[in-house]
Symmetry: C2
Subunit: 282 residues, 2 copies
Amino acid sequence: MNIKEKCLPCMVEQAIKTANMVNAADRDVLYKKILAQMSEMDFSMTTPEVVGDSNEIIKAHVGCVDPYKEVKDRYNRMFSEKMSEYAKKISSFSEAVKYAIAANIIDFNPIHINVHEEMERVFSKISELTLTIDDRTCLEADIKAAKTVLYLGDNCGEMCFDKLLIEHIKRISPDCRVYFAVRGAAVINDNTYEDAISVKMNEVATVISNGDHSPGTVLSRVSEEFLDIFRSADVVISKGQGNFETLEGCGREIYFMLMAKCPVVAEALSVPLRSLVCKKQK
Amino acid sequence: MNIKEKCLPCMVEQAIKTANMVNAADRDVLYKKILAQMSEMDFSMTTPEVVGDSNEIIKAHVGCVDPYKEVKDRYNRMFSEKMSEYAKKISSFSEAVKYAIAANIIDFNPIHINVHEEMERVFSKISELTLTIDDRTCLEADIKAAKTVLYLGDNCGEMCFDKLLIEHIKRISPDCRVYFAVRGAAVINDNTYEDAISVKMNEVATVISNGDHSPGTVLSRVSEEFLDIFRSADVVISKGQGNFETLEGCGREIYFMLMAKCPVVAEALSVPLRSLVCKKQK
């Protein structure tokens, strides 16, 4: 999915959020660097590629390798502690998918400290929530027949529900090998290798880095090692908007699981804003 | 008021709106030009200066001197036709000020065709609306003692209510000379000389251009002729956010009349968002 004009203000907004997260000095110099980078972008790129590059500029400017580290840790801890409770509530693969998609709403606004309450509120009404696009039955069948599943993670916090879903995947397909892919470098609140290990993802899956710093999966940038697994996996599950924006139309079968949080993605999927989606790309 | 980081996404958004208004071709080339211009801006500038410069880039790119012409004409016609009706409802200077401030909500979204209904709705409840900062009594006294009033206009449509207010100014101060200032070039939906003449502003005031293309009053850019009047006028009335952003703290007495439409301006005035304000700057 190429950059849309509507994405431009959001790209700037994202840079501002990150600069605030680390209380960056010389903010005007920083923004001018980012605007200069954006002025040279190729509009055939995807938005996550540009955001990833801006993020590298911010990291270099402030001398910080992981601006969201503290907040990512906080959310991972918060949800890790609650997972045994959620595990009891979630009895089927299909339900685990729904929870993992609903968890995609987790939003890392530093002033928004009641995220757990918000998630509780969403989960308390989860039986009323429906998936606007629902390819779960097909996904379940594909997983049962699969030898390898590649699960492309998205955000911290949310990752705890990904882990729970992977447990369900292994229940319905015990001999299946599951890979959990993380970003190659810290970018916004996305999962890194370190984050995945911190929630013990390695207990249920082989954690692999995609080798790139974008908040998505950019096939022209990822490592050869990742690409081999991506190409050969029997099933690929892709969480979140960033992975969707970078993999939509890439030519291989993928299950996209996400909440459509912005108009651009909602439009691309032809669903209303805030829809929950589990869509098989053929 | 210097550029705030929160203004950056809005600057980009404004460029996109204008590009859509004229259905600009080669949109990616255009946005790259604007991002490059923004990457070189001085953060000690005001936001309207940057928006004015971006707007000139768009006008040059599409070869159109007034991208909002059609929509400005439509709103000016729409409200001109209704003014005799409003004139009957508005019996005092004080009320005319309130209407002129409330009219500052007129928003030029091309898909928002019911602006007149929205204004009717606002005006039908106008007796319930209060000014969060209310220096109208002081303004009235100053106008009664004034020989010259300079009225800095803002948007088309709204301008019809400015004209009505000027009629009230002349009622309370019959010998007073009123200047109505417009932008020196078309910029967004702001009033130009041609727009002011189209609503017959010249029947009640001397229409003058400020000589600059910013959607505000940038004293370092305006013409000498305008500056003379600005410096010598007994009373200056400044409509809207753009004029406030460029004149706040300029060192002369000004009455700012506006609706605080964005968090940055609301914060600068220490008022809640959407407050109506008539504030004397000393």
